[in-house]
């Protein structure tokens, strides 16, 4: 009887201690990851400002990250525009203030939804591709080969991606804002019967320069996060094809978490410094 009780208790204890151990380990792992990421980012800043620079490679990456993402960004932000207009209309019609739909949609899209959704789409589309490509280069020793050919892999591979993403993400976001507002315009003008003139006026009246600014500034950092996290995970691939797959998953998950956390930080920051 006593024995049974004891063993039962130790089972629970074991499960609990395992839970806390795993939990502690994953927190430590994340701290370790942040340290490594900070190191990589530091090196990026160093190489970013020391010549030589390779414009061609930056353009190539910018095309892949920016131009090639236009399709999916258009589609997603158009739908977000539709959805957001309809959701806002649901409440605004109840309190009889349809006229504010346009203003609300414009502010939310430009300040919050446009930047975050674009960043997440790009993280999934471009970030994952970066980790898969560079992770494969890592396991096939191509990154070592670069080094033996006296070429620094950070300068050669990471810098073009960091610059391309940090420059293209604000532009893509601006584009997403426009498409999203256009989507909402379609719903409001053709389904809810708001006049086109009124919609356009309501949109531009509420949007201040600071809304656009706060929305776009943070996307520069989102771009930096996507590029550095994806490259960091690629450099740390272990094993073969399976390792590349795991690294890609890790890169996307960590990028998502960090983008949302950074967004929370920036929203709070801008809320308090530009009230």
């Amino acid at each position: 009887m006593k024995n049974w009780f004891l063993s039962k208790k130790s089972d629970i204890e074991e499960a609990l201690s395992k839970f806390f151990l795993d939990f502690g380990r994953s927190i430590l792992g994340f701290v370790y990851f942040l340290g490594g990421l900070a190191n990589l980012t530091g090196q990026c800043f160093y190489y970013m400002f020391t010549p030589p620079f390779n414009k061609e490679r930056i353009f190539e990456q910018a095309k892949r990250a920016g131009y090639d993402s236009l399709g999916i960004v258009s589609l997603v932000s158009l739908f977000i525009g539709f959805i957001y207009a309809l959701q806002t209309a649901y409440f605004m019609q109840r309190i009889g203030s349809e006229i504010y739909i346009a203003s609300l949609v414009a502010i939310s899209l430009v300040r919050e939804l446009g930047p975050v959704i674009t960043a997440l789409v790009v993280a999934g589309r471009v970030g994952a591709a970066i980790t898969a490509e560079m992770g494969t280069m890592q396991v096939t020793e191509q990154i070592d080969a670069l080094e033996t050919l006296a070429t620094n892999p950070i300068r050669y591979l990471v810098i073009p991606r960091v610059l391309a993403l940090s420059l293209m993400l604000p532009l893509l976001t601006l584009y997403a804002d426009v498409v999203g507002i256009f989507g909402s315009y379609l719903i409001c003008v053709y389904k809810l019967g708001i006049s086109s003139n009124m919609y356009i006026h309501a949109t531009f009246d509420v949007l201040f320069r600071k809304d656009l600014f706060t929305g776009l500034v943070k996307t520069v950092f989102f771009g930096l996060i996507i590029a550095t996290v994806s490259c960091y995970e690629a450099f740390n691939v272990e094993g073969g094809a399976e390792g590349v797959g795991q690294a890609t998953t890790k890169a996307v998950v960590k990028t998502f978490i960090m983008i949302i956390a950074a967004d929370c930080f920036f929203t709070a920051l801008f809320y308090f410094i530009f009230p």
């Binding site: 191509q142 070592d144 080969a145 006296a150």
Partner: protein, 255 residues
């Protein structure tokens, strides 16, 4: 001259190199033999400075590799060619761009000279005129030879080969051996060849060194190694299943 002095390296507590010392004279071809996983590639990566030793020195032409800054290290690397085990060709570039990579990035040669040097390097490995193919279109043996062409295109003084004949057919293996030999005779390069293919080791080596448990346990000319008394060396070069090497593994397995 390459002088490796008491180099040790751990990976997560697993000792791969243990106070390893080895000296390679200028113009010599040194073959390092040893079982898979004994740390041959790790040793080569220390020589090119991709890995840093926990302790010890690697001195090339009077410079200690782990102490060099990035610029000095790059200068040494431009005199050094490395042929990786799987080729490690850049698959986003054509064969020509791969072979000319070092020149394109560092020696600002004219376009005509660049094309000539690429052609010359490819012809040296008997692959004239494949500049415009992609690495994915090549067979394993061709990839190895293109990797060799990439290494010799910068006209190095030292070439490191990581298992150049592993995984290619015997005829290609022989032509690679011939090539290593002729680079040694014609260009007077210093070479380090890592392999577990004994036939190739005897063909190309001026000196053989056996790596075992993190250390060089025997070195000498091919004849000396063949006559070595050491039972570990004897087992390895004759490819015997029974002997001290496998016994230690069984010994580990029991505990």
């Amino acid at each position: 001259m390459i002088d490796i002095i008491k180099v040790s390296k751990n990976f997560n507590g697993h000792k791969v190199l243990d106070k390893l010392s080895l000296k390679i004279e200028k113009g010599q071809t040194c073959v390092i033999i040893g079982r898979s996983g004994c740390g041959k590639s790790v040793l080569l990566k220390h020589i090119v400075g991709i890995l840093k030793p926990d302790s010890g020195k690697i001195v090339i032409e009077g410079q200690n590799i782990p102490d060099l800054n990035e610029k000095e290290l790059d200068a040494v690397r431009m005199k050094l060619g490395m042929v990786f085990q799987g080729g490690a060709l850049f698959d986003s570039m054509t064969v020509g761009e791969n072979v000319g990579f070092g020149l394109i990035e560092h020696d600002h040669v004219s376009r005509r000279e660049l094309l000539e040097r690429i052609e010359e390097a490819l012809c040296m490995v008997d692959l004239c005129g494949i500049e415009n193919l992609w690495p994915a279109q090549l067979s394993g043996g061709m990839k190895k030879r293109v990797a060799l062409a990439r290494a010799i295109c910068i006209r190095p003084e030292i070439i490191l080969y990581d298992e150049p004949t592993t995984g290619v057919d015997p005829i290609t293996a022989d032509s690679i051996n011939e090539l290593i030999r002729s680079l040694h005779d014609k260009l007077k390069v210093t070479s380090i060849v890592v392999t577990h293919d004994m036939k190739s080791a005897y063909r190309v080596g001026d000196k053989l060194a056996m790596l075992y448990q993190g250390n060089i346990i025997a070195e000498g000319t091919p004849e000396e190694i063949q006559k070595a008394k050491n039972p570990v060396v004897h087992q390895f070069i004759n490819g015997l299943a029974k002997g001290p090497i496998t016994e230690t593994i069984d010994h580990y397995r029991e505990y």
